[in-house]
């Protein structure tokens, strides 16, 4: 017991020591960028890194009177490592602003850490709703999106423009696809859809042949997932000739992120929705894309995670520029007021919960200049993370899950 007391006193005095050491004069703005640059999800992390590097080049070494220092940290796509790296940023490297994380799980780990540490954080591609909804904290904003955000519009488009009434959804069984389907169903049912049959499969299911063997009949199939699962599903869907029975629609990442060159010609005509499209023809986008190619070579297409990393760093630096100091509170309030008229993806501003209100593009895979791209065929402007719904009402309803919202569009849930 005596030892314990000694230790307790020791730790208290150490705290005092540590506190005094940290207060040093500072003319450097340190930004820590975290993303999975190794591991299964390294595609996302590499894209973000390339986007951030482009932003650094454009901003130069000095911004708002500070030397800009950007350090990259590898999350390995792993919550445990993410927390470690974030701690290193805060307590070892004295980082002023964090950009990232990129993935769903690491984003939640980042939120958890940020709520404790108070460091201003700009989440990039990570999309769990509650980061900027039910669990939001003051010092965390987002440069990207929520899982449901592009899908409100997509559901509406599928019902209204494509005229599908009954959809069969096959999806990866975890939180992000739940959110995507939730947004889809709200938009789909409101626009006159009839029902969505859902089939969830565990992530890393390599063989879909038996799911395809028992697939129910509908007007179209929505594959709600991406990555290696998405690619395998796409291949097997065609192997069994299902594409002749029902067209294949994609969740936001399905045709968009990384797999498209592997899918090849067969992906042409595939429709999905996102707040980004590499087939945009606006001046801002083309300038961004050309600069990106100049820096990283024309073989690498800048995709949404790259743009979000690019934008996130600009938001961070912009906030320091705006507030004129490295004071955390000043940076946070400037971050929350972010308005970006000239973002490559199109103009956006943050809502009062810290998530972009932005364009959603319905994209179709087309071949442009000899390469496959997602080309916008319809634009929904000023879409918030709540879609057309009231923020407080939206957050009061239960979070999306495997069975929520209901499959049948005539359910009371959709009548409100």
């Amino acid at each position: 017991m005596k030892t314990l007391k000694t230790i307790a006193i020791g730790s208290a005095s150490a705290l005092a020591v540590a506190a005094t050491v940290n207060a040093q004069a500072d003319d450097t703005l340190r930004v820590g960028v975290i993303g999975p640059t190794s591991g299964v999800f390294s595609f996302f992390g590499e894209q973000q890194r390339m986007g951030v590097e482009l932003a650094i080049e454009e901003l130069g070494d000095e911004v708002a009177g500070y030397n800009l220092e950007v350090e990259f940290y590898d999350s390995q796509g792993d919550a445990e490592v993410t927390v470690d790296q974030l701690r290193a940023m805060d307590s070892r490297d004295d980082v002023d602003i964090v950009v990232g994380p990129v993935l769903g799980g690491t984003g939640l780990a980042g939120l958890e850490w940020a709520s404790g540490s108070g460091v201003p954080t700009v989440i990039s591609y990570s999309a769990p709703e509650d980061i900027t909804m039910r669990d939001r904290v003051e010092n965390v904003v987002r440069a990207g999106w929520t899982g449901a955000q592009p899908m409100f519009a997509f559901g509406e488009y599928v019902a209204e423009e494509l005229g599908h009434e009954d959809i069969v959804m096959v999806g990866q069984d975890y939180a992000f696809p739940y959110d995507q389907l939730g947004g889809f169903m709200r938009g789909f049912c409101a626009a006159g859809g009839n029902s969505v049959e859902r089939i969830w499969h565990p992530t890393d299911t390599a063989d879909y042949s038996s799911i395809l063997a028992t697939l129910p009949q509908g007007d179209a199939v929505l594959y709600n997932g991406a990555g290696s699962d998405g690619l395998a599903f796409f291949e097997q869907y065609r192997d069994f000739g299902m594409h002749e029975r029902m067209p294949l629609l994609g969740g936001s990442n399905f045709y968009a992120v990384g797999d498209l060159p592997e899918m090849g010609e067969a992906a042409k005509g595939g429709v999905s929705a996102l707040q980004y499209a590499e087939g945009l023809e606006t001046d801002n986008f083309i300038a961004f894309r050309d600069a990106f190619w100049e820096m990283h070579g024309e073989d690498t297409m800048p995709l949404a995670p790259a743009e979000h990393g690019y934008v996130a760093l600009k938001m961070a630096v912009g906030a320091v520029d705006e507030s004129g100091s490295l004071d955390r509170d000043a940076i946070i309030s400037a971050l929350r007021d972010t308005e970006m008229e000239d973002a490559p993806r199109g103009p956006f501003h943050l809502d009062e919960y810290g998530n972009p209100v932005q364009n959603i593009y319905i994209n179709e895979v087309k071949e442009v200049d000899g390469r496959l791209k997602n080309v916008p065929i319809k634009t929904y402007e000023e879409v918030s993370q709540f879609g057309p719904y009231d923020a407080e009402e939206y957050m009061a309803s239960e979070p999306y899950s495997r069975d929520f919202p209901p499959s049948d569009c005539s359910d009371d849930f959709y009548q409100q």
Partner: protein, 316 residues
């Protein structure tokens, strides 16, 4: 006995000084190193005493972490229920794994524990209703006690260091007890021990449960340290990391695992600043250990390096 007391005092003093001189980041890395030391110790109880190399001790720690996250963070049960429940669940899993692998030896034991561990890992990933899948369960925190915020890295350090020292001490006593010697005897010659009338199966079983309990404690600390529980601590990479720590430090001694975990975490922290290829580094360390000093640093001698090729890792 005298020497033992001196060593303990030395370790406690060292830990205290470290707390006073180290920066916040160094303290939180030390916390992580102590957690891995516990896992490596759990591994070493089986590897060093019985010659069983298990790739599922991190799985047991992960199971305990999930129990803490589910009962504590999701259902809000009191800490006095959550923590014992977590450790008990780890022990229960250890019993189940023990039953499933009881007849396996050496390499087939390694394979079975790998398969079982990866099975639980896959379930943690895919049983979303229970574990939250890839996103995991967040918001796992310790309470304030007597005005101390236990989540603070330095306060957490004190708590963790106390437990770690006590557990290592207990294992040290255990190794020197009659029961510990019996385990060594079983490893050397199982038939003979059985012929002498020793309860061989019971002893092995007890060792398994003990190792499970240590892993369970490590898991509790791990989840509170991270604040979030996700499948990653159950992955094969983590299992190999812990195995490497134990082999590097020397799994046949008590303090070897702590030494190995300390070196490996330091190495990782250093390497992470220069390259993303950390798994390559862990792999290389493991390979070099096996080839050059199969008994680890704590039993390292230049002689064995010269004889090198024929040094043994196990008596099987």
């Amino acid at each position: 006995m005298k020497r033992e007391t001196l060593v303990i005092l030395g370790v406690v003093a060292g830990l205290l000084v470290w707390l006073l001189v180290a920066g916040d980041y160094a303290v939180s890395r030390t916390n992580r190193a102590m957690i891995y030391a516990l896992m490596a110790l759990s591994f070493s109880v089986l590897a060093g005493r019985l010659g069983w190399f298990s790739l599922c001790q991190t799985t047991l720690a992960g199971v305990s972490g999930y129990v803490v996250a589910i009962l504590g963070a999701q259902h809000g049960l009191p800490y006095a229920v959550v923590i014992p429940a977590a450790i008990l669940t780890s022990m229960l899993f250890a019993v189940v794994f023990g039953v499933l692998t009881v007849r396996a030896r050496a390499v087939s034991f390694l394979m079975l524990t790998l398969a079982l561990g990866q099975m639980v890992w896959a379930l943690s990933f895919q049983w979303v209703g229970l574990t939250g899948g890839y996103n995991g369960i967040s918001g796992v925190r310790l309470p304030m006690v007597l005005g101390f915020n236990l989540n603070d890295p330095r306060v957490f350090y004190v708590l963790l260091a106390t437990c770690t020292v006590l557990i290592f001490l207990a294992v040290h006593r255990f190794y020197n007890s009659r029961f510990g010697l019996l385990l060594l005897g079983i490893q050397e010659n199982e038939q003979r021990m059985r012929a002498l009338g020793h309860p061989v199966y019971l002893a092995r079983f007890a060792a398994f449960v003990l190792a499970g309990a240590i892993a369970g404690v490590a898991g509790v600390f791990l989840v509170y340290d991270m604040g979030i529980m996700s499948p990653s601590p159950l992955s094969l990479n983590q299992a190999v990391l812990v195995l490497t720590a134990a082999v590097l430090g020397g799994y046949r001694t008590v303090w070897g695992p702590a030494l190995g975990a300390g070196i490996l975490i330091t190495l990782q922290t250093g390497v992470a600043q220069y390259t993303d290829r950390h798994m390559m580094v862990v792999g290389a360390v493991l390979a070099l250990c096996i080839l050059l000093m199969p008994r680890g640093l704590s039993e390292f001698s230049w002689k064995s390096l010269v004889r090198g090729r024929r040094a043994t890792t196990s008596s099987t």
